[in-house]
Amino acid sequence: MMGRTIFIDPGRCIGCQACVSACRECDSHRGKSMIHLDYTDEGQSVASLPTVCMHCEDPVAPCAEVCPADAILVTADGVVQQADTTRCIGCANCVNACPFGVPKIDLQAKLQMKCNLCYDRTAYGLAPMCATVCPTGALFYGTAEELQAERPGVQVADSFVFGESEVRTGVAMVVPADRVQWPVPGGLPVVEINGKDVRR
């Protein structure tokens, strides 16, 4: 199942945005940062969540499936590439279909862009920029065994639940071994919005 990939642990994240700056230094999309850093607990705490492309395996890349232009390719090693520049028509289907909220779109350039797992680095065995610089290990690149050797007592989870559906991904989350939540909640169904119960 999981080989070398990114493991995300939002609990360790300090929200410093080193990943955001580092992403911009990646040669395959220099000057453009693809990673998302969100402060998920605004007004209550400084908690934060980094989001890289999860490289969905099952279903294979919803973004690629909804693409009307066949612009998103999936490599044999399971990396969902960013849109092919010659094909992408900038319709934003991928942006709004992605269950993790990953792709970005440049409206002027009519082009989708997203994390490609630093393909220029990972294809040669180097860690992606974000996971290389992450000061806290909230983004870790390696195998699950390497992760567990550094952090006793953690487990990894690579499936998420969105309402009735489950999505298995190539990038995984770190979860405490004694409280394995399997699959990891994806946020859907939404229970409340701004304090209001919205279950329907």
Partner: protein
Amino acid sequence: MRAGGLVPRSVTGRATAAGVIVSLLLVVAIVLGSRFLEHFDSALLPYAVATVFLAFGVAYRYTVWVSAPGAKRLFKKGWGSLFSVDNFRRAPTALPKMIATYLGFQKFLGARSHARWAAHQLIFWGCILASLITFPLTWGWFTFTSGTGSGPGYEMRIWGFKIIGFDSLDFLGWLMFHGLDIAAVLVIPGTSYFLWRRMKDRGAVTGQRFGYDLVPLIALIVISVTGLLLTFSSIFLHGGGYEFLAILHMVAVVFTLIYIPFGKFFHIVQRPAAVGMQLFKYTGRQDDEVFSCRRCEEPIDTTPYVDNLRGTMRDLSLGFDEWAEYCPRCKRVLRGSAYLSQVKKGFK
């Protein structure tokens, strides 16, 4: 690499049928346009045959493409917007403007990189020029005849009707006879820039594939260079090496034509879909149908677009189409909150 899934058999059948019909139509058009082959230049037969294959390939590939759920819905919406009388009445200039900025001047490429825009424009106009000249020629739709047999006075005819008379020695005549050389001169620097970039730019090199990314560029270079050499040979070398060059040129052209539906060049066929998409969204915006995120109330896109996307997701059995009503940021924040509250709050 793969994109999408396997093509179902029914689609293959439909696509084959479309291919056969379109290529047959082209054959009929050639026969009629060349006045029952009277104007058909048999030396150009391989080219003509290649265009028939091209027609088949494009129609086949196009049909397969628009049968996939994402493209199918957008295809309908795009053409629907195009043929809407209401749309036309409200904004008669919208479509021509979109076509000019998007398909003609490709303004969006400038936002990606000015150099790439310039190089692409060179290739684009060069190829347009070359196609406008060569396709009708090979189909026998164009003829150039001279009352005196060998000029300098010529007449240009389309489908046998006289369009224009010119003197091969004046400027217009020079342009007419050297149109393809001009096209080659446009294409070569553009293509060279892209080739250089494919060698040097790490962004372009990442994930680059020989067949998909480099072959088309090499093909364009070979066609343009051999084409220019043909002119060079006939003017300066009195035809020296002409035959070999002609064959090389022909092979390159035939290969490129047959390659178009299957490789990178398919974007030429695909691009107009962007205009359809644009028109579809434009209509929605004109009607003020803006869909806002259910959580943060920031606009996501037009309501018809979101409905269309949800339909696509349902077609694909992606069971979380309700999620499309939330903006990407809210999706991430909701997932982060769920992790914090249900998996772990912090370090522990």
